[in-house]
């Protein structure tokens, strides 16, 4: 198999994977925010397609999804937004399985994966699709050359880890702590252990769930991660913008600044000789 674009995004040092919910608070704003995140040093954009029942999300992203749905975000509008984005980094679609399953005329993942590939999506993260239910999605992604990224949880058993790694391309998403998404003040003490378990994996390892500052990004990379995934910390900035009616450019500037801080922090996590 050819090396994926997503995997290549990890080639130049620790990668920053940045999440926002599409359409929060509007598709136009999301376009500016994503471009700002990339200007700030984001290597992979994880763009959420909002689903009405986001069971894996904490309050911050639940509220973002609610704002996006109320503003009218749909799978079609999402694909239009992806086509419209002017960025040169890979975009991962993060959504729940029912939206993928319902898209198009026939039930099943095939049509949405095809449409997403056509719009410029490079891979998927589907939090409610564990590896044992992933066969049809995996086949569809393979057919269209997309990566299906699995989440490895602190509770994942060795047997499950093995079957996930068999199907993982792009990168492996390491869930840094139990529970749901959401910014935290400290890196979970389980992170080094979680990475240890994956040291033989032949794909890059990115850690998410709870990372919100450059210092945390440094710590996670120093523990052996190849990248950090950040979502809620950006969404907090977007929510603040909505609450205080801030101009889109001002919110975009703050997002870019946070991305730059996270990226710089991640670089500092590397041992001196490896820094670029």
């Amino acid at each position: 198999m050819t090396r994926s674009e997503i995997r290549a995004a990890f080639d130049d040092g620790p990668a920053l994977v940045s999440y926002v919910a599409a359409g929060d608070p509007s598709a136009d704003a999301t376009k500016e925010y994503v471009e700002a995140l990339v200007d700030g040093g984001t290597d992979v954009v994880e763009l959420g397609l909002p689903f009405s029942e986001p069971v894996a999300e904490g309050t911050t992203i639940q509220n973002a999804i609610k704002r996006a749905l109320e503003a009218g975000m749909t799978p079609e509008a999402y694909l239009d937004l992806v086509r419209d984005l002017d960025v040169d980094v890979p975009i991962v679609c993060m959504t729940y399985y029912n939206l993928i399953y319902q898209y198009g005329d026939e039930a099943g993942p095939e049509e949405f994966v095809a449409a997403a590939a056509d719009a410029g999506i490079s891979g998927f993260v589907v939090p409610d699709l564990p590896v044992n239910e992933s066969e049809p999605m995996y086949e569809a992604c393979r057919e269209h050359g997309l990566d299906l990224i699995f989440i490895v949880a602190p509770t994942t058993t060795p047997e499950r880890l093995e079957s996930m790694l068999d199907r993982t391309t792009g990168f492996v998403y390491v869930q840094g702590r139990l529970g749901t998404t959401g910014a935290r003040d400290e890196v979970s003490e389980n992170t080094p252990e979680a990475l240890e378990r994956l040291q033989d994996a032949n794909v890059p390892k990115a850690v998410g769930f709870g990372i919100s500052s450059g210092e945390q990004a440094r710590e996670v990379v120093a523990s052996g991660a190849d990248g950090v995934i950040v979502g809620s910390a950006y969404v907090d900035i977007i929510a603040d913008g909505v609450e205080n009616d801030l101009p889109t450019e001002e919110v975009a500037d703050r997002l870019e600044a946070l991305a730059a801080e996270l990226k710089a922090g991640a670089r500092k996590g590397l041992p001196e000789p490896e820094r670029k």
């Binding site: 689903f51 009405s52 029942e53 986001p54 069971v55 894996a56 904490g58 309050t59 639940q62 509220n63 609610k66 749905l69 749909t74 799978p75 729940y96 399985y97 029912n98 939206l99 399953y101 319902q102 898209y103 039930a107 939090p127 409610d128 699709l129 564990p130 590896v131 044992n132 239910e133 699995f150 989440i151 490895v152 949880a153 602190p154 509770t155 994942t156 058993t157 499950r160 996930m164 869930q175 139990l178 529970g179 749901t180």
Partner: protein
């Protein structure tokens, strides 16, 4: 339903992966998968194989604490009205006033056998939350209940009952503040505390093994129905009628006749398929059928009759959803039926032609509430009133067994208010008592 399709559907045990045909499965975040697998293993060992005498213990406790068996009552006045024999399976007489305890007691006891130290559960109207709180008090387990803010406000007495049993009640403020948000939030708690916590899901929904396991705990209903029918009627009923929201009382009333019940220790022959017994699942027709796609709202909860296939809360099943796959807000005058999904086994049995989905609207359910109260001296839950209402449309010769899944004391405020507002036939006047 053709005779042939009935005959070809025999015992339909789910596979190990928990599939009922294409329905069911385990669509949950990875963080929960090991707990779900551990539970599936415990389900097989304790519930199916009676390891450590678990099922004996459960059966003894549901008798001595729960009050089983519940009676099968001949409804003489209704039988006269309809011209065929009507029997009522009296789950309203189970401890707590509804069938919910069968499952709550079974799961809390199982959690103890598994060495879990904490229970979480969702609740809509509060019946499952109350049953879980009762079972936790009885079995000495810490208990936290998630309940949507809207439901907390409209079901105060049940909130107080849970608190009195020493359960924590956590209001959920997200979304419409009803059952599906409460399920989402309980899954999030479980994902955070998965190592020592068991999630007592309240219906035959969720990832495998929940739909099968909840069915089996509830199957004591149909197990008794079969025995009692033989003793009291001298035959099996022509039809069993049960209301269907998520479907736990429905599967409890149907499982032994379908042949899918697998709870250990059942009387000989009581789990063999009985294909000649018609099984009618009565859904909440609300104010009208269908989904308002533009508004993302369904004025009903008829997912078996009108829903489309999709994935929600861990299982593939029939759902009320938009064409894009967003889950819509459902509606029923009965809070316990107000859910956009339904158990995967019911979805499968409907596709197979073994279960016939029918529905009655809010007004018909309210009329049936008053009819049963007036004619038989039994106040049914608004949920169960849907099943009772279907007798008005039933065209067979009987005998018919209706599952009265719960008692209606909890619904009195709603019923008085709604009956006056809708001018429901047969409702007593309350005006003279108002201040």
């Amino acid at each position: 339903m053709s005779e042939e399709s009935k005959r070809t559907t025999g015992a339909q045990s789910e596979t190990r992966a928990g599939k009922f045909g294409e329905y069911g499965g385990q669509y949950v975040p990875e963080v929960l998968m090991p707990a779900v697998e551990e539970l599936a293993d415990a389900y097989e060992r304790y519930v199916l194989d009676n390891e450590d005498g678990f099922v004996d213990d459960f059966r003894q406790r549901i008798r001595e604490f729960g009050g089983r068996p519940t009676p099968l009552s001949h409804a003489e006045n209704l039988s006269e009205r309809y011209g065929f024999d009507v029997y009522l399976k009296r789950e309203d007489l189970l401890h707590g006033g509804a069938h919910k305890l069968n499952n709550a007691l079974g799961q809390v006891l199982l959690a103890k056998y598994m060495g879990k130290e904490r229970i979480v559960a969702e609740t809509g109207a509060g019946q499952h939350g109350t049953a879980t709180a009762m079972a936790c008090a009885y079995l000495d387990m810490p208990c936290e209940i998630y309940m949507g803010r809207t439901d907390v406000n409209r079901q105060r007495p049940n909130v107080f009952r849970m608190r009195i049993h020493d359960a924590e009640v956590n209001p959920v403020d997200v979304g419409s503040g009803t059952l599906k948000e409460a399920i989402n939030e309980t899954m999030r708690d479980w994902a955070t505390n998965v190592e020592d916590t068991h999630y007592v899901i309240g219906s035959v929904v969720g990832p495998h093994p929940f739909p099968a396991m909840v069915r089996d705990f509830q199957s004591v209903i149909s197990e008794e129905m079969r025995e009692q029918s033989r003793d009291q009627l001298g035959q099996l009923p022509e039809a069993v009628v049960a209301c269907a929201g998520g479907g736990s009382n429905t599967m409890g009333a149907f499982a032994s006749f379908v042949g899918s019940a697998r709870l250990a220790g059942a009387p000989e022959g009581s789990q063999e398929p009985a294909p000649d017994v018609d099984l009618l699942a009565v859904e909440a027709g609300g104010s009208s059928l269908g989904v308002d796609k533009a508004e993302g709202y369904a004025p009903n909860s008829a997912s078996l009759s009108t829903g489309t296939e999709g994935v929600l809360h861990g299982a593939r099943t029939k759902l009320l959803q938009t064409e894009e796959g967003q889950i819509v807000e459902s509606h029923s005058v009965s809070a316990g039926l107000d859910y956009a999904g339904v158990g995967p086994e019911l979805a499968y049995l409907v596709d197979e032609g073994r279960v016939e989905p029918v529905n009655v609207d809010d007004d018909a359910a309210l009329e049936a509430f008053h009819r049963l109260s007036r004619e038989e001296g039994i106040i049914p839950a608004l949920e169960s009133s849907h099943a009772v209402a279907y007798l008005e449309e039933y065209e067979g010769d009987g005998p018919v067994v209706v599952n009265v899944s719960g008692r209606g004391d909890k619904d009195l405020d709603t019923v008085i208010e709604e009956s006056a507002a809708r001018d429901i036939a047969g409702a007593p006047t309350m005006e003279v008592f108002e201040e």
